[in-house]
């Protein structure tokens, strides 16, 4: 897959406080890149540098193979949704979209069609001729997404696009971003890890201005390390026997009881087979045996610790 954006060895300090520290990652065409990290980790700062709103101290950002510091005509090619989007209150969404279209030099008729389509897509169809003044944060967020997609950009950057949305709205916007990747690449930052897992192809975890994990969603959740197997037994007797036995074998690195389940931790993937065999030999009444998938949250906790 071809990359649309490559960030290389980026660093940025605000008054001696290093905020971004030798950060590198890339974003591929038609993929969604999820950017996660705690408050103040440097997500917004990185995004602003990609938009050329902030000047990096060192490092370079290549957009479509060209250094953004040297090219001036990227404006229509990157769409941006700020973390707290501010619009003009006296406009209606439709008028605002036309205003944006005029700045991006889109022809009126084309822009109108496009705006109608996008406003429908983000669910503002009914409110498209109401003044923005009365809009809720979620509605503004939706308008922000529509606006970012207006000029058919090759990359859209969304800073916490789901932070103000209700559960249904969140799902809609996530589906929207997922759909959008057919025409553009997406970078989005969030604190909600399940969102990332749901729609992202690539994930970067940022901590203190450094990327501490980067890869595809599968890669990250598959990563090395221990595997947990959850065995559920109904009889307390069986459960206790399993617990005692498990403590004795070398196969199990750790064992614990959670509700009615025994959770046994083995060293790696390969040992899982042996464990299954071992359980079979014990002859307990077992309801189910299941290998536990690692969630992104587990990975995140491991990394951030």
């Amino acid at each position: 897959m071809k990359e649309i954006l490559a960030v290389k060895n980026l660093s940025k300090a605000f008054k001696k406080k290093k905020v971004i520290d030798n950060l590198s990652f890339c974003v591929y065409r038609n993929s969604v890149f999820g950017f996660v990290g705690r408050n103040g980790a440097g997500k917004t700062t990185t995004m602003k540098m990609i938009l050329d709103f902030l000047q990096p101290d060192t490092g370079s950002i290549l957009f479509d193979g060209e250094d953004i510091a040297k090219t001036k005509h990227n404006a229509g090619r990157i769409g941006y949704l700020p973390d707290v989007p501010e619009f003009y209150d006296f406009y209606t969404p439709m008028q605002y979209m036309m205003f944006c279209g005029e700045i991006s030099n889109i022809r009126r008729r084309e822009c109108k069609e496009k705006a109608e389509e996008l406003l429908k897509l983000v669910g503002l169809e009914k409110d498209k001729d109401r003044k923005i003044r009365g809009f809720s944060r979620g509605m503004k967020q939706r308008l922000g997404v529509a606006q970012a997609l207006l000029s058919d950009p090759e990359l859209i950057i969304c800073d916490e696009p789901t932070s103000a949305l209700d559960p249904i709205g969140r799902r809609e916007i996530l589906d929207l971003l997922k759909k959008a990747k057919e025409r553009t690449a997406v970078i989005f930052s969030t604190h909600i890890l399940s969102d990332v897992q749901r729609i992202c192809d690539y994930i970067g975890i940022i901590e203190n201005g450094k990327i501490v994990r980067y890869g595809t969603t599968q890669e990250l959740t598959r990563i090395s390390g221990d595997v947990k197997v959850r065995i559920s037994c109904e009889e307390e007797e069986d459960r206790n026997r399993l617990l005692e036995e498990a403590k004795k074998t070398e196969l199990c690195r750790d064992v614990q009881v959670e509700n009615n389940d025994v959770i046994i931790q083995v060293e790696n993937e390969k040992k899982v087979k042996d464990l299954f065999k071992w359980i079979g030999e014990k002859g307990c009444n077992v309801n189910s045996i299941r290998k536990e998938e690692k969630t992104l949250e587990d990975i995140y906790m491991e990394v951030i610790k």
Binding site: F53, P82, E86, I103
Partner: protein, 256 residues
Amino acid sequence: MTGFFAYLKKELWEQLMTMKAVIICILFFLLGIISPIGAKYAPEVISRLTKDSITIQMADPTYLDAFAQFFKNLSQLGVIIFVIVFGNVLSQELTKGSLIIPMSKGLSMKAVIHAKFIALVFYWTAALAVSFLSCAIYTRILFSEINLEGVAILLLGSWIFGVFLISLIIFSNILCRGGYISLLLIAGCVGVLFLLNLLPDVRDYLPLKLVGVDVASALINQDYSFSKSGAVTCMLIVAFLLISHICAADKRKFCN
């Protein structure tokens, strides 16, 4: 200058929709009709108040008094109203952050400055026209005699003074990048002008001269000249705009 026309349209539309332009026009209309009324009835009121103690000899007021009153009101009340209403046109947007999305689409800060300047000059011109027309019509009604000869140049002086204030507004808004400090900066600059005005040698060169002539004698004797102060004011306007322009070259300063 990407997005200049789109932004200019937005700017003109915004002042209308947020009622600022309407309020300015109404206030300037009132300012226009107050002047002849004041000129006509003030002497009567004064003489009635002081009837018992002293008798003051006063000439009957004429249209000249109405115009004198008008230009005085314009240069004081009018200008203050205008600066209060429009003094933070740009800083307000910078603090709110509403320029970020347009800028991410390529709108340049220079385009913003030019559009704001032109929109404000447009509304200043409209306000001036409204107030002068209402003043002239009321003067015609209250004083049967009226002569508009020589008024045009006085109006031009006031207009240029307004444009000077607009460039000062833009300049201070760009320099202070938001907040009420920019209003203080405007007040400070005007204060300096008033201080300089105390020096007889420089008085003739100051923008204040444009709105500080003795209207009655100016209209009758034509004994005034705007050439020095006008030239200086125009130079100041250009200088303010130029500095704003230079400050605006780096858009990064304005989108964080």
